[in-house]
Symmetry: D4
Subunit: 216 residues, 8 copies
């Protein structure tokens, strides 16, 4: 038996098991979806390519495929925020857009509102200042940046809210597939930043959703 | 002029500028302390060795030197929690104790209660289960571990609270000065974990304090 | 001559030469198979893709191709365990399944029983406890995990049997193709763990089979 | 409270909790020793320097300090092997001697006989062949080597017993503190090898003792 | 003969040979100084510790030892700028001060004015804006930062002058001795940045001096 | 909204925003081009593949696609140098040609003349000497090399002009995708060298153009 | 002009310029071949794929394409050894065969005899001993191995001839694309070994040919 | 028994066993020297510090301690070259002197003449050309360089003799303890270079001596 589902996850952590789609065959995915849907109101799967999505949608046409975010979302309720306030998803460049979408939809799965503020990286820092009030109004901030990842430090020095930083693999050469941005964010000279894995929009959205949930 | 103090920090981030002690001469440190005390109720300095501490204490005997935590704390008020709830500081081994203390005192500077639960690493995992209720009762969890850093993943799978993970440099050989634990925590299979720099108890305590502050 | 077969290997090590399939042309593979079959009861080849498998099966239809495990097995006898007890193959996630299969079939080639216990990773640790009796009943344990590889440490703290750990390349970003799990397992805070190469299910199954063989 | 002792360890794993000495103050060490001696027949501590050893011996003069191996051993019984057969500890160079001693004494703590065969590295490979019968007679082999760590592969190709390989930090430059030997051993072209952390003689002796224990 | 002096360097590059002090014995240093003084108006030596400085000053008391900058400067003329304009040396934190001094004095050796603007890192970014006019007035900008090195990108997005970036080894853990800041600066999302080696204030000052020299 | 254009960039830095083409969809690219053309005389996009180029050219046939350089250039004026002097682009091998072209065209966008001197690497160093007068005549030098990147050091020792070095990913094995040349250039024993990211011909041309612009 | 041929190379080094084929377009390759053939008796090109080979052969059908070795050889004379003695090319596994061929043909271009002794790696070390007389009879030895590269050390301990070691990228996981074998060979405990780049059969054959040429 | 001497080494390789001094206690060293002197005409020990040297010289005052080279040489004959020709030891900077001495004395132990040509690095490349005739006259060339190690490539492009390259740990920051020079030399664009470990003057001298021995 290739899968041992963790049907108790929601009770322990307040969020049901999430399927990691990478490398799973369409058959495995359908099998896992089938069983999870019996027990969970929400079935979320990450890192889903189009072939995998089609296989799942063939069985359950109501499942939502967010293609840019590479997420499959099977939910029994529409996505209405269930609490006040919002999570700001701040992204440095246009190329970070898919990771920002992954974070935003994960936040929505938590029942929170997500506002995406894209392409405000430090090469033109006034773009950040123009949106600063909106960012400061958030309960939690997700900061997404590739290349040198400087946005996280700059942002954290300007706000009084937790910053969850996501390095992305946008870049080339000495970027080392996102390691440059990762190290940058881990070494932030501004305080109040914690970091998730490279390109892990899901993980940042998850933590942001969890923090928001308990902050109100 | 070697220093440009950020006297506006408290207004922007809700916490005053903190001094990074490593590599500063005792004279520089005293100079910076002197100016900060004029403007800030709380003056916190991290990574302070005994020689540095003595130089500062000679001027201001009321400053508190937490030697294990390597912190200098100049505060005008005693450390009474100003809000309900607490932050749990969970450490894997006895060798992680100093980093745990750094995190705990930083949390206290934020006006929150910090409870340290030490030496409950996964080699004897029942030790973690014995303290699980206390951990689950916290508003935020700081998880500190060296070697392979497995504690963060295990913990995150058991709680519905944010986990801020601190890899430590405890270990040798392929530990690579804490890189093993760092990578481990960044790749947690359990969700709801974000990571700060190796041995950065201060950074984790800071973020935990900030999350706790807004959660009540 | 591109190959110098080691026909003496079985005498020295108790197991015949195994073919490393990666990068070999179908012709080379058939050539090597042909000569080994003349001298060995068992001909095992690892890392075999479908094109290579077809070339070999065209010559010897009795050879078994375990596709998930990427193994070719030419054996003159059915796979009946020749000794008491069993090897437990414990895998953290569904994505580790192919490596688990490679380990399991290698164990069987040694004449031992292999029991696969899949998807019991630490994100839902109760899944491990539910299977702990079966795991404790094994003579040797192979532990397979990607991402942060925490399962190896947790498991080793719970059993009194050797744990052979296999890091897998399951994950992304700071996983570094399995290096995160590898370092994690090498730095296990629990004792009784040794590690083989990333994705090397064959190597772990081999060592487990060898240990089991002499343990009874 | 800086320590949470795992007094249940012996029941679960067949070996009591072992103290990791690195970085512990003499006071912490004496405190931990004191409590462990109340519950355990055997108290073993690794990575002990002379200052730490003196502090412990001042309290309990019967504790044995193996200085080369950097071990403290508090045992209620003399070290007589309790089972047949032996573990061979094969070391490549004279500089690997301390790691070999650490492995040997750990094996003896398990109640097994340990035979050290030192300085038989591949630069003069006939030295290995001269001792091959004695090595082949062992139930388990620990192979210790620094620099390029080639001994592990050579040895594994010549024996039908498990080889537990220990890379050492002996070397310089591109040795990278033992990483060269570590990678070498992980990539052994000969089968039946698993690897522990750099300089981890204790870990290898532990696993060898465990394998030997169940092999008779 | 341990040294082959490059007495032709000034003719080719416009600046005489500079002595790299690290690892040279005081005798070697005195020997080299002695010969260079015969041929060069300016003798500059970098990475000089106090013992080395004393040995040189004993022979030539007119040589200037800039202790923070670790430079020895033997010059026949006082340091008066010989051209209009200035080089701005912008440093992120107080700990970057010594590297800033090394850069500043090297610029002065080139006959240019150097203005140091210290401790204006991105954690309190208004400090940078307060000094921006002065920075924008420079002909070339040297930007010095440790930890995550974000200052270089921010700065480059705000000015129309070349930015020579110097990563420093200020930081710990995942800073990797300055590699984090180095990678950050190499991956700047803002254009117009080039990078020198970690802590290489001399190299940055040299290039800045050269650019300034030809810009007027 | 996936893009927040920095229409103010030209005012601040003297050069308009440049589009980073990698990973952008043809639609995104056309959208961004469309808006930039309204505000900027020059629209430059880097890392453009043929599919992207076609999409843009379909809308604006006057845009120039430099295929080897992978640049799209939308300019309202022909490329006539607007100032005296030139930038020398010196490349080590034939394989570095595309990066040299990227640098050269970027220099031309700055209004400067670019002269490419290709395939004069150190394996046949007389080729460099044959072109040395032309190189020395330049105001700034861009030096492009893969493999071991030695050309940068050799060149810097022979000229009195700034050298902007570009490591390329030309090579294999221990070249590590250009890291060998990058480290080499950062550690140049000759002074006056600063480095940009691997394969970043654009960045080097940009800085060279900026230096040239202010040098006359 | 993309190429500056080094037509003087033969005079300086005793061997004409060799073309590095990787990344060159068929047109560039034909252009370079055309000019080199006018000046050199021997035109050698490395890392040539089939498409490139076809383009060249279409122009000069007499050029020899060694497909496994990925070499193009345009020679005016047949390959008869011009001196006594031979170079032994010793390879560890079947998968190292292409690199061995690259080395062998390069040696032949030097006018020396090359004898390939393949698949004699240390997993079955008697295979090496069986061929030892032939190896010892060589003037120079090229040793080619992937995985852990142990063969180089073993061989160097058994012969009184120079050993040029070539690590190959054969392996997976912690092999890191040949880095494991490279580090292994650089750290050889046996003396008389020097190393070339990963998979660089050409470089090793070149050096071996050069040594052989002057040894007789 | 901590040592198993390889008294047969001279017969196999033409050079007796050499002692690796690093980490050996003075007692171990004296013990090994004592036994080797009984069997070998030449006893060579590398990486010897002053304390070790004194211990050995107390027993055998005729042993020669080359302090800069950190070698102990116990030889029964004076160092007269026994063959024609010489080995050129070419070093880039003054700081590479100790490694050059280690190489030179090793060559002399082989009975060859060694000529050291120091401080002729590429920052002032005319220094190399001034000595080129002497270098070209050598039978073998050892090239020693730290920082970016460019000298090896330049040299190899100018000579028709084997170049054995030794990277040194001279440098700082992104030099990574010699890794920069090591990678540089492994990726030489000029042919005829092979590399030994960082700072391994002994290994290079050994191979050069061996090549010279057979070249005449
Ligand atoms: N994108 C993701 N990144 C990291 N972890 C994930 C991601 N998606 C799911 N997971 C977690 O990965 C664990 C293992 O997945 P599986 O291979 O599906 O058994 C699940 O329990 C999830 O909590
Ligand atoms: N999957 C595997 N991983 C590691 N080693 C292997 C594997 N399969 C076979 N081997 C070993 O690799 C050695 C070299 O293989 P070959 O290239 O076939 O000569 C064989 O002797 C096997 O013992
Ligand atoms: N080839 C390149 N290398 C590095 N940075 C670039 C390159 N091309 C454009 N950029 C910069 O990358 C920034 C972010 O790009 P974007 O993803 O387009 O928002 C832009 O502001 C440019 O200044
Ligand atoms: N396989 C190879 N590995 C390393 N260097 C090579 C190889 N083939 C040719 N070369 C060298 O690479 C240099 C640069 O090549 P090119 O890019 O052709 O100008 C040539 O001068 C050759 O000496
Ligand atoms: Mg943008
Ligand atoms: Mg403990
Ligand atoms: Mg699962
Ligand atoms: Mg020895
Ligand atoms: Mg400051
Ligand atoms: Mg060329
Ligand atoms: Mg084989
Ligand atoms: Mg010099």
């Amino acid at each position: 038996e290739y899968a041992t589902l963790d049907l108790d996850r929601n009770r322990r952590t307040g969020f049901p098991e999430v399927v990691y789609g990478a490398g799973k065959s369409p058959e495995q995915l359908v099998g896992i979806f089938s069983r999870l849907r019996e027990h969970q109101e929400l079935v979320l799967a990450t890192r889903i390519n189009e072939e995998q999505a089609e296989a799942v949608l063939r069985h359950w046409p109501d499942v939502r495929y967010e293609k840019e975010a590479r997420l499959l979302i099977g939910a029994q309720k529409p996505f209405e925020p269930v609490r006040e306030g919002y999570v700001a998803i701040v992204a440095a460049g246009t190329s970070d857009w898919p990771v920002a979408q992954e974070a935003a939809w994960t936040v929505r799965c938590f029942g929170s509102e997500a506002r995406v503020i894209a392409d405000v990286g430090v090469a033109g820092i006034h773009r950040l200042f123009q949106r600063l009030d909106e960012i400061r109004g958030a309960a939690v901030i997700v900061c997404i940046a590739g290349m040198e990842g400087a946005l996280a430090s700059v942002l954290a020095g300007l706000v009084d809210k937790p910053v969850i930083a996501v390095p992305t693999s946008v870049g080339y050469g000495a970027n080392l597939g996102g390691i440059a941005a990762l190290l940058s964010m881990l070494n932030s000279c501004a305080n109040g930043v914690a970091v998730v894995n490279i390109d892990n929009g899901f993980g940042a959205g998850y933590l942001a959703g969890m923090i928001h949930r308990q902050s109100v």
